[in-house]
């Protein structure tokens, strides 16, 4: 029994290892698909930019100012800051901008279910356009970003678009430097490889857009979801809509600067992702409307946060089996185990190194060995999240509570002359 479980664990680890290598090698050596990147001239449609803001007094002014300066026809751009039950100065700051710029149409939400999906669901009442772009309040869009995110919607099959997020507060701490590398791997390699291979790029919930008719078709935002982005990706996919990833639609974000914040963030992501997995894994695997590679990638993407506990279980089983003297298998198993310990462990790091190279980073790649530390923290966090969810299932303890990621920014970044993306506008 234990041996069978160990072999299954090993098989899963090998599959995900192969996946990492496949994506990385594709990104390094295959033809890159950027089908919408050249659309610079077009009859740009009317759009609404929705900004999700819950207690964002430190950052909300930055994004409002940045959006007022973007290179998009002003008469076709509506800005809707969604002040979701804020108890700080968020409302006051937004209203100050509304006085100066009446085309900002605020949505002050004073009650209702907590969570981003619930807030977005309520805010859709104000949206009159077919294309909706979503930003979290701590993001700082560059001048060209809006056009880059809208361009894929000229493809009638595209239901959602995802841009690339780039950490802004990289140099602050060891954690921010780790997250910078991790984000590079996730976007520069993972997301772009999925785009190249016609697989399932993931809608990420911010620096993103959604087609309103597609959203309406699938029943709107799912307020019961902890990860409305993953949830939306799969509901669109199953309804025949595609998510497009735009690697060159880049936007700065603020990453967590303290480990407790990071742990809470990744635990929320893990729980939301696992929640989506239970809802959509079977439907994705059995969907007749998807290609086999979409189904395979869709299922593996849903299981990605489960690999933490799987790895922990694998390690524990390996120790138990070793000390109980159980023969762990024939040559193939030993070979798989050997391959994993020599290569598999490093697949994710290979991916990050490739991403750093593609980004043209020179020195930061030296930090790669330290990402092992961040990896360990993530491993423990997602395993803990999975355990809590399992407890919820076994003992009926509901633990699906949405926690906002705390911001570290204390001053506006738009006044920072060193900010590369905004040099042009100042």
């Amino acid at each position: 029994m234990l041996l069978a479980l160990f072999r299954i664990t090993l098989l899963l680890i090998c599959i995900y290892t192969a996946r990492h290598y496949w994506f990385t090698l594709n990104r390094l050596f295959s033809r890159q698909r950027h089908p919408y990147v050249d659309i610079g001239t077009a009859s740009w449609p009317a759009i609404t930019v929705v900004i999700a803001a819950h207690n964002e007094e430190a950052v909300v002014a930055d994004i409002l100012r940045a959006l007022l300066e973007v290179d998009y026809p002003q008469d076709r751009l509506a800005i809707v800051p969604v002040n979701d039950r804020s108890t700080d100065r968020t409302r006051e700051i937004i209203d100050g901008y509304v006085e100066q710029y009446p085309r900002i149409k605020p949505f002050h939400r004073i009650a209702g279910k907590p969570g981003k999906a619930a807030a977005l669901k309520d805010a859709m009442e104000l949206v009159e356009t077919e294309i909706v772009l979503i930003f979290d309040a701590d993001y700082v869009p560059g001048k060209a970003l809006i056009r880059q995110l809208v361009a894929p919607f000229f493809d009638p099959e595209v239901g959602a678009v995802m841009g690339r997020v780039v950490p802004l507060n990289v140099g602050k701490k060891l954690l921010t430097r780790m997250l910078d590398l991790e984000r590079s791997g996730g976007y520069q390699v993972d997301q772009q490889a999925r785009m190249n291979l016609h697989m399932v790029p993931q809608y990420g919930g911010t620096v993103a857009g959604v087609r309103k008719s597609a959203l309406d078709e699938i029943g709107g935002w799912n307020e019961k979801s902890l990860a409305e982005d993953t949830d939306l990706t799969y509901r669109l996919l199953l309804a025949g809509w595609k998510t497009a990833y735009e690697n060159r639609a880049e936007c700065y974000e603020e990453v967590p600067e303290s480990w407790p914040v990071r742990v809470r963030q990744i635990m929320r992501w893990a729980k939301g992702h696992n929640q989506a997995m239970t809802s959509y894994m079977f439907r994705t695997a059995s969907s007749s409307g998807l290609n086999w590679y979409e189904r395979l990638d869709g299922v593996l993407l849903l299981g990605v946060y489960l690999m933490g506990p799987v790895l922990v279980v694998g390690w524990l089983l390996a120790v138990v089996l070793f000390y109980t003297g159980v023969e762990i298998g024939g040559g193939l198993t030993v070979l798989a185990l050997g391959a994993f310990t020599t290569l598999g462990n490093f697949a994710a790091f290979f991916e990050i190194a490739a991403a750093a190279r593609l980004d043209g980073s020179r020195e930061r790649i030296r930090l790669l060995p330290l990402t092992l530390f961040g990896f360990t923290v993530s491993l423990v966090s997602v395993s803990r999240a999975a355990w809590q969810q399992l407890q919820g299932v076994l003992f009926g303890e509901a633990d699906l509570v949405w926690n906002k990621t705390e911001r570290s920014r204390t001053a506006p970044v738009l006044e920072d002359a060193r900010l590369p993306a905004l040099e042009e506008s100042h």
Binding site: T41, A42, P156, V166, C251, R366, P369, P420
Partner: protein, 354 residues
């Protein structure tokens, strides 16, 4: 031996473990690459290089005017840019006259002599003509520009007026004009942008391009491309029969063919090829994962994206004067007599049928 063996083993193991971590700790301490990654700074407009060049040369314009008034040639340096200001109208682009400069500013209407190679950027305050076989690195012209037979621009060319490319000429980077661009047979290009781009066997006379009569019946707005039109999902090929009209978007896993004279009021997405037959029209965008062919006298509002190649037959029209659009593909081949409003992006090769 036995006493220091374990210590040595521990020390060696610790050293081996520390080896890969040492550069990491060094970088963590020194922070040599700790700035945020640089994200896209501009909108990717075709005119970006020309605008940047213009802004660098702006302070020299009064001096160029002075040179013109005095009919003289002056060398000048500003912010590290070495420029040659030419106020004479008989400048002949000899290597001795040019010398080690990065830019030449020309005050008078100028003809780059046939066969001449100019390896610096040009600023022309008036009209500019490249003689047959001439090669220029890059040029910004306030007046009209003509590229004579087999001449070429290596990086970018922008005109505040119009640009004519005669037979066999080429712009190997970005080509843009604020009025119109006329491309003759066998011309080659990569990226072209103007309110109006025409292709012709012969070069039209000035003013003739803008006065061309619009093709009747294609006045629908390209906002179909981002509308909530009804979706028709098709497994396999899709054919809209000749002469018929369909409202809605077509998404097909096979080839999409719009029959002769048919009209699609919506957009197209095909996993394979797209064929728009003669006299047909599409009032939205066209996205093909392989190639796209637009037949004679066809119309598309755009944008048009085909991952492998686009072929546009004669007398077709893409975009509208008030709704310019984009054609993007690895290769773009256009026949004579077409009219395009907006931008053509040929990532590998763009050409006009000879």
């Amino acid at each position: 031996m036995a006493s220091w063996g374990p210590i040595a083993l521990t020390a060696v193991t610790a050293s081996l473990l520390a080896l890969p971590v040492a550069p990491a700790l060094f970088e963590l301490q020194k922070r040599r690459d700790a700035a945020p990654l640089t994200v896209s700074r501009h909108s990717g407009r075709t005119e970006n290089f020309a605008e940047s060049f213009q802004s660098r040369l702006e302070p020299l314009l009064p001096e160029l005017e002075r040179c013109r008034a005095k009919n003289e040639v002056t060398r000048i340096s500003i912010d590290g840019l070495e420029a040659l200001l030419v106020g004479r109208d008989d400048f002949n682009f000899s290597h001795e006259d040019i010398g080690p400069v990065e830019a030449i500013m020309l005050a008078h209407p100028t003809i780059v002599p046939a066969g001449c190679e100019v390896s610096v950027d040009l600023y022309a305050a008036s009209t500019l003509e490249l003689g047959a076989g001439a090669i220029v690195r890059a040029a910004l012209s306030i007046g009209d520009v003509t590229l004579c037979e087999n001449s070429s621009v290596l990086r970018w060319l922008h005109s505040r007026g119009n640009v004519r490319l005669r037979c066999g000429s080429a712009v190997k980077g970005r080509l843009s004009a604020e009025e119109w661009i006329a491309l003759s047979g066998s011309c080659r290009f990569l990226r072209v942008s103007a309110p109006e781009i025409v292709t012709a066997d012969d070069i039209p006379a000035p003013g003739r391009v803008s006065q061309r009569k619009a093709i009747e019946g294609h006045n629908l707005h390209s906002e179909y491309a981002a509308s909530a039109a009804r979706r028709h999902r098709v497994r396999g090929d899709f054919v809209l029969p000749a002469g018929e009209t369909l409202n809605g978007d077509i998404i097909a896993t096979g080839e999409v063919r719009i029959g002769a004279g048919a009209q699609l009021r919506g957009s197209i997405k095909s996993y394979k090829d797209v064929v728009i037959e003669d006299d047909a029209s599409v009032n939205g965008s066209i996205v093909g994962e392989k190639s796209l062919r637009l037949g004679r006298r066809s119309y598309a509002a755009g944008p048009i994206m085909a991952e492998r190649g686009v072929v546009i037959d004669g007398e077709s029209r893409i975009g509208e004067p008030d709704c310019p659009t984009t054609i993007s593909s690895a290769s773009v081949e256009i026949a004579a007599g077409c009219r395009i409003h907006g931008t053509i992006w040929a990532r590998e090769q763009g050409s006009i049928e000879s």
